[in-house]
Symmetry: C2
Subunit: 394 residues, 2 copies
Amino acid sequence: MKINFSERANGLKASEIRELLKLTEMPEVISFAGGLPAPELFPVDGMKKVTQEVLEKDGQVALQYSTTEGFKPLRDIIAKQRMSREGVDVTGDDIIVTSGSQEGIEFSAKIFVNEGDTIICESPSYLGAIGAFKAYRPNFSEIEMDEHGIIIEKLEEELKKNKKVKMIYTIPDFQNPTGITMSDDRRKRIAELAKEYQVPVIEDNPYGELIFEGTTHPSIKSFDKDGWVIYLGTFSKTFCPGLRLGWICAAPEILEKYIIIKQGVDLQCSTLDQRAAALFMQKYDLNEHVEEIKKVYGKRRKLMLESMDKYFPKEVKHTNPYGGLFTWVYLKEGLDSAEILKEALKENVAYVPGGPFFPNGGHKNHFRLNYSCMSEDKIVEGIKRLGKVLAKYY
Amino acid sequence: MKINFSERANGLKASEIRELLKLTEMPEVISFAGGLPAPELFPVDGMKKVTQEVLEKDGQVALQYSTTEGFKPLRDIIAKQRMSREGVDVTGDDIIVTSGSQEGIEFSAKIFVNEGDTIICESPSYLGAIGAFKAYRPNFSEIEMDEHGIIIEKLEEELKKNKKVKMIYTIPDFQNPTGITMSDDRRKRIAELAKEYQVPVIEDNPYGELIFEGTTHPSIKSFDKDGWVIYLGTFSKTFCPGLRLGWICAAPEILEKYIIIKQGVDLQCSTLDQRAAALFMQKYDLNEHVEEIKKVYGKRRKLMLESMDKYFPKEVKHTNPYGGLFTWVYLKEGLDSAEILKEALKENVAYVPGGPFFPNGGHKNHFRLNYSCMSEDKIVEGIKRLGKVLAKYY
């Protein structure tokens, strides 16, 4: 049986993270490989109350088809409660509900990118976005980052010389995988460049609310006066990832395309989950819940950074994120973190090798660590084990 | 602001049904335009119990990320309870959970069709599939149907002469929009042709279980020995559409591509909804629930067919479906059902004009009627009103 797949499907292979996660799922492994929120912080009791109430009061409607755009009260809540903290003044009409921010990422390539066009992203960037984009057979232009995010001069240089750039994909807050946060002036400048070069910016912000220190940054979207910035949000990191609820905030003529695409792909998100989420956010203060998450993650992050400084070889460098879920480790040139992972797994500790986060390859001497879903004692023990493995290479 | 969309996005316009549904949603309109299941039949009490139990027993897991393939017990139930009645002997490993069958439809084009390739479908076919396929810029080859479904000789002729055919899309049971059901020998023959011409068949079967008379037909997949048939199922018509749960049953090497695509698009379906659905089907007998639905829809169908015979001009013809949600009306050549709809709306009655169900255009002298979600007195009154409108054209 020789199946004739499309060219795009021929090019798609199972993601390395995916295969890897299977290995790291053994209970004896202390895994820093995932990107999961801590389940012990999920508002299970609140969710029990609201699902009951939704089914009690509006059961038939909650189990029926509903509109592609999403449940209007939820869209209003997103505009009022979430987008306003991003410095963006919109109503529910400017929002559609998506299946996490992942759907917004995938749809963006579908809407803006022809085969052979260029997508600009940070170097490195989110693996799940790279994988989703690849189905549209683009070229990737990776722009280097420093500790203040994407380097604007290099971004502008690329926009100037490459007329095939159709989209800039960026994660400005506590970036996945590096944990790096973009400075405010660069955010403003990216919004200006988008307009100047007429290239849409996809601002993916799953982690921005999880800030442990200092004050929140304004979103790139908040500097956007002409609709060139498309903001992707999600409840996966601040509420419940299993409900698969996120959103897109964009100008009407752009949002219209996303709606048509969503209609073709899955018609709508779960009516029940949307109504439960909306009622939860009417009855409870999500910001209070986020404060609890921040306390726990902030402690875990501090412990992980301190443990690395204590147990890793001195030459090993890492980022110092002040929010989000991840830190990024730099090994010396020539080392291959995928190879080292095999050794780490022998010691029952795991991370994600850095290579796949670079769409054009290379950079094997990095890896990503997650600190959100591991208890404090396991963080110390896991980093200690990892330090022992790394010591062999230094 | 001049946005540079991709070629595929430029070609996408809001679906006519979508715009139309807005007009027909006024409470005074008796609308046969939708395709909604009857909400009064949704198992609201059962859903209350199972969501409670899932959150009580496994709350943290139920709100967390889970695998792209879907919740294993649900996949096992689908294999055992649903696929076995289709004459297909598989396990949960041969199934992935999707967001309704819509996702399976869209992913199929993504996996099998390059720009300029041909998709074969019935003439007419499901509007939501045509819309989803269009994003991949294929050509459509429509194959005529008679009262036993797609005409096999015409299908084979097309397969023989058109080497760009990459996929056959068919709805063999109580087809949307016509209500026509394919004969068993044609099902067998399609499975053979798929192998002979090495073209995958997408068998979309949302309505097959809703059979009011006679015995169930074996699926096309049941005649498939070599993996050329991909079966799409859904719980939207037999359980709760708002949960957005469907499935794909396919050979492992094909299923693998669907999994990668799904991972890129939305990672997974709602964990909570999948667990609630699985528990529902463990605690209750879905077949019993389907029997209740069939009783109600069967009566409504009978009443609609009888009312058409009583109140429509004698020259107007319609299909006589023995299952599913729809019947299809044939007007005389030259009439335009979209124009007539404007008159119908003045009488506060609505249907879906037939034109958009033909991907290559034409055929405006048809329309689709839905009988599943309107009470019996409204069916009689609505058909009476429609008869009055149609009488003006005869």
